[in-house]
Point group: C2
Chain length 280, copies 2
């Protein structure tokens, strides 16, 4: 199956599961949750989770609730990050952000409730749940550090630390959770962890590059947001060319970690290529 | 042991456990979390959890993480409810609210991170975690309904529904979780559930009464907040005397449910009396 075909099979399955696991109940709160959750998006975290489970090769039937929980946590963080008190963004996934559409109070509550629902869905899997909850905490830490660093000069190692928390932890957790659900042995889990960590790094570098070189339509959110908030980025700290080189180096490390897997890890490999090479 | 002595034994244990389970790490985010979490408060939810475990009579050693998770969830909801976009309150537990002290961005993130930490702590107990996560979702629903109802005429049954979600669900979960941790048999769990539900009702009625008749110093938060927000309350809908009668009726139902327990349920009985009779 080509990667495009693989994505075309799994993305609708994720979307259908999200729709089913967070059904409309007539309340405005649920409407706001669904507005942001079902607004499209690449479903990168669920796809990473499914691809990791597939790499291990077992029955991936039980992976969907975890995959959906990851997307719910991601969406909750986007809703809160977009709030006026945080990044104050009006556009997300090509649509008005949750607080623009539903007001700040409902946006805050929709984020809170999506976090709770994500944990409710993964209650069966203590190890997975601990991983997700810990990643959530890191995400909050990273966002707090990111806001605190606005307008201040920071070092590359500080930037790496902020991103490892803010976006890296959940991306890594997405990959590892796929392995956990299908009971991957320790060597495979460890390989998935390395892959996930490197994907986190690559993803953020490319995100920084795109914010500089992309346009609103491609991104589905306002380009130049980092400049607007005077945020430290990879291109700003090390230049555009070195940023691209670092992203490719992370991709390479991620691919090397996958060498212990056979063809079953092809979707994970393709995701790595897609993330890094789409625009660099 | 007198009830005062019981409270004096368990409250410091809860506070010490909260301090230990959410330790300072040098970050501003953690500082904001600890500021609100360790700001005092009656620790009603942890005490309900401990008292319920004690009623069942087993070893209550393992109850503290769950008791702390309940307080973290409660504190997260207070931080978010106090935000300018929600109830816009400046005073809580006698201190400036989290966003007044640390700014809105950090207050939102501190709430988010406290929710995540609560679930991390209870990952060992799937049944408990599902209960807590579900109660969190109900809390968000209730708060959204409460805000939507501001300034509008609502019926007593609508008011009951809002409160059952907003405050009742977590209070009930506090009691039930104590029973779950010590493996209470179904009949006892069911009695705890009835007690918890009635305590939720009683608590909210008394809270409404106190908002009307209390002062800032006694409440640790601004009195008259319900009037300010033009919120429906029990005294407003049924009058002060009928509100007091309803609170006492709920207390009576709660105490009746406890009849299957012996002396071990004395702390639960005392909490019921304390909640209802302190000011009615």
């Amino acid at each position: 199956m080509s990667f495009e075909a693989w994505v075309a099979v799994h993305t609708p399955r994720v979307n259908a599961a999200l729709d089913q696991l967070c059904p409309a109940d007539g309340s405005r709160l649920r409407e706001a949750m669904r507005y942001s959750l079902l607004a499209g998006g690449k479903r990168l975290r669920p796809l990473l989770c499914i691809a990791a489970a597939e790499a291990v090769g077992s029955n991936i039937e039980h992976v969907l609730p975890a995959a959906c929980a990851l997307e719910m946590i991601h969406t909750f963080s986007l809703i809160h990050d977009d709030l006026p008190a945080m990044d104050d963004d009006d556009l997300r996934r090509g649509l008005p952000t949750c607080h623009v559409k539903y007001g700040e109070a409902l946006a805050i509550l929709a984020g809170d409730a999506l976090q709770a629902l994500a944990f409710e869905l993964t209650a069966e899997y203590p190890q997975l749940l601990r991983l997700l909850a810990h990643a959530c905490g890191q995400m909050c830490t990273g966002q707090a550090e990111d806001i605190a660093a606005e307008g201040k000069p920071i070092s590359l190692s500080q930037l790496k630390m902020i991103h490892a928390n803010k976006t890296g932890a959940l991306l890594k957790a997405s990959v590892v959770s796929g392995g956990l659900i299908v009971n991957a042995p320790p060597t495979q889990l460890s390989a998935l962890e390395t892959y996930g960590a490197q994907m986190g790094v690559a993803f953020q570098i490319v995100d920084d590059i795109l914010d500089l070189t992309g346009d609103d339509a491609t991104l589905g959110k306002p380009a130049g947001s980092d400049l607007k908030h005077d945020k430290a980025t990879y291109p700003k700290l090390v230049g555009l060319e070195e940023s691209k080189r670092l992203a490719r180096a992370a991709e390479q490390e991620a691919l090397t970690a996958l060498e212990i897997f056979g063809e079953s890890a092809e979707p994970l490999r393709e995701i790595a290529r897609y993330i890094v090479e789409r625009n660099t």
